[in-house]
């Protein structure tokens, strides 16, 4: 983050292992680690809980526990547990997300579990909850754009964008206020890297105003809406 050009000031962080968890304790341990790390580096990290929805009521209890502990963001990846995002288990989890007023970050891909059109059903059902469709640029850019045009509570992040011009398309066809930089960093020097992901935005030579929005302002306002002051 320090070596980024421009420097990356803050990062939303969440666990990884418990995208699919063999024990409920695994998910709790991952989430506790995020809380510890966020408390250790409060100026740099914004913690998010990671919820494996396949534990049903126990998943909801874990979301409540994390929200009580102060985390206002929740990451969900329906693909990992083979849940279609419009199944009843997903709806139950989103009802709780809606009630708690936290911000869901949802993995998207081309599958029938996490396709933007299926996640869009959740967004449509809970219009007061803003939802971030992650990896909008993976291969389903136009699908996210189609859903976001229709649903004002749908936001997108730029991680894994294959064709950077799709960021411009989102800005033109949807809004310049609902797209945000994200890197999907998992390990140092492996897979996606913060600078590589930044470069995909920088190569567009966005105006100063648009650049500020995509690289920070949009995220800042969105997080402020769920009680995270930066």
């Amino acid at each position: 983050m320090n070596e980024g050009k421009p420097r990356i000031d803050k990062a939303v962080i969440f666990g990884f292992h418990s995208l699919t968890s063999e024990l409920i304790e695994t998910m709790k341990r991952d989430n506790d680690y995020i809380i510890e790390t966020t408390e250790k580096y409060p100026d740099r990290y914004i913690g998010a809980s990671l919820i494996d929805p396949s534990w049903g009521k126990k998943s909801i209890e874990e979301l409540r526990r994390m929200t009580k502990a102060g985390l206002r963001i929740v990451k969900v990846k329906f693909t990992s547990v083979h849940f279609p995002a419009n199944c009843q288990g997903a709806v139950n989890l989103f009802k709780e997300i809606d009630d708690l007023g936290v911000l869901p970050l949802c993995h998207t891909d081309w599958t029938h579990w996490s396709h933007p059109s299926i996640l869009g059903e959740l967004a449509d059902r809970f219009p007061d909850t803003k939802i971030v469709m992650q990896h909008f640029g993976l291969s389903q850019s136009m699908d996210v754009i189609s859903v976001a045009k229709r649903l004002p509570n749908v936001y997108a992040d730029t991680s894994a964008v294959i064709h950077p011009r799709n960021i411009l398309r989102f800005i033109e066809k949807v809004s310049p206020d609902r797209i945000m930089y994200a890197s999907d960093t998992i390990r140092a020097n492996e897979w996606f890297q913060p600078q590589d992901e930044l470069n995909r935005i920088l190569c567009l030579n966005l105006s100063k105003e648009l650049g500020e929005k995509v690289l920070g302002l949009n995220a800042r306002l969105l997080l402020k809406g769920v009680g995270v002051e930066l």
């Binding site: 995208l19 024990l23 199944c87 579990w113």
Partner: protein
């Protein structure tokens, strides 16, 4: 005699629904199915609770049910669990890619080794319509590594018939065949002797499976009997009565 090898009992967190043994027994009675292989919903990661529900159903309906236990290779106590399940009367184990362990991983092979020692058939289950994302090579390497181990391969897997045609220790179920003719298409590459009736209740229906087998004109009466019960009976050591 009719035996269906693919039935889920217990709690399904994806659909927030519960399927009871009584409901399955009623459907079996109505569809004329004599025995059913039962195992938990693999959408539920709580395998201890899921397998306990199967164990209780087995105790109630020993004559009707054949129990398989769901196994998550990530759990370190898996070998001990498998020995315990065998003692309880479970006849096989079930795995699913959704637990996040690839067929080529050491932990997966460790489970297969234990299944071989215990002589438990392995149900390679999936409800994954995206099985094109499951790499086939590691799966086939595993099948080669354990030639004495018998696998039931979910027909939802991409190229399931092709995989079964290359491995004589692989059976497939009929759960996602759309048409009776799809069964006929599997006859030439693998033969009727490795096809098992599987309806995937409660998602699928027992009656739909029997209708599909009956309507398939290419099947002889003997081949139908193989798919209905003779193959399952041989695979699972069920006494003919």
């Amino acid at each position: 005699m009719r035996i269906d090898v693919h039935n889920h009992l217990g709690y399904d967190p994806a659909n927030d629904e519960t399927r009871t043994s009584d409901e399955l027994l009623e459907e079996m009675r109505s569809a004329g199915v004599d025995k059913a292989v039962i195992f938990p919903f693999t959408s539920n990661p709580d395998i201890h609770e899921g397998n306990e529900i199967i164990n209780r159903a087995l105790k109630r309906g020993t004559e009707k049910f054949i129990a398989f236990a769901t196994i998550n290779p990530k759990l370190t106590e898996t070998p001990e669990l498998m020995y315990e399940y065998k003692k309880q009367g479970f006849k096989g184990i079930v795995t699913d890619p959704r637990f996040g362990v690839d067929h080529g991983e050491k932990t997966f092979h460790d489970v297969m080794e234990c299944a071989y020692i215990l002589d438990l058939p392995v149900w390679l289950h999936s409800d994954d319509k995206e099985t094109i994302m499951v790499p086939i090579n590691p799966m086939e390497s595993m099948m080669n590594k354990f030639p004495q181990l018998r696998f039931i391969l979910s027909s939802v897997y991409y190229d399931a018939v092709g995989i079964a045609s290359r491995h004589r220790n692989v059976y497939i179920d009929t759960a996602v065949f759309e048409l009776g003719q799809d069964i006929a298409k599997a006859l030439q590459p693998i033969g009727a002797h490795r096809i098992l009736m599987g309806s995937q209740t409660p998602y699928g229906m027992l009656k739909r499976q029997t209708d599909m087998i009956e309507i398939c004109g290419e099947l002889t009466e003997y081949q139908k009997s193989l798919i209905y019960w003779r193959n399952a009976s041989k695979l699972l050591n069920i006494e003919e009565k």
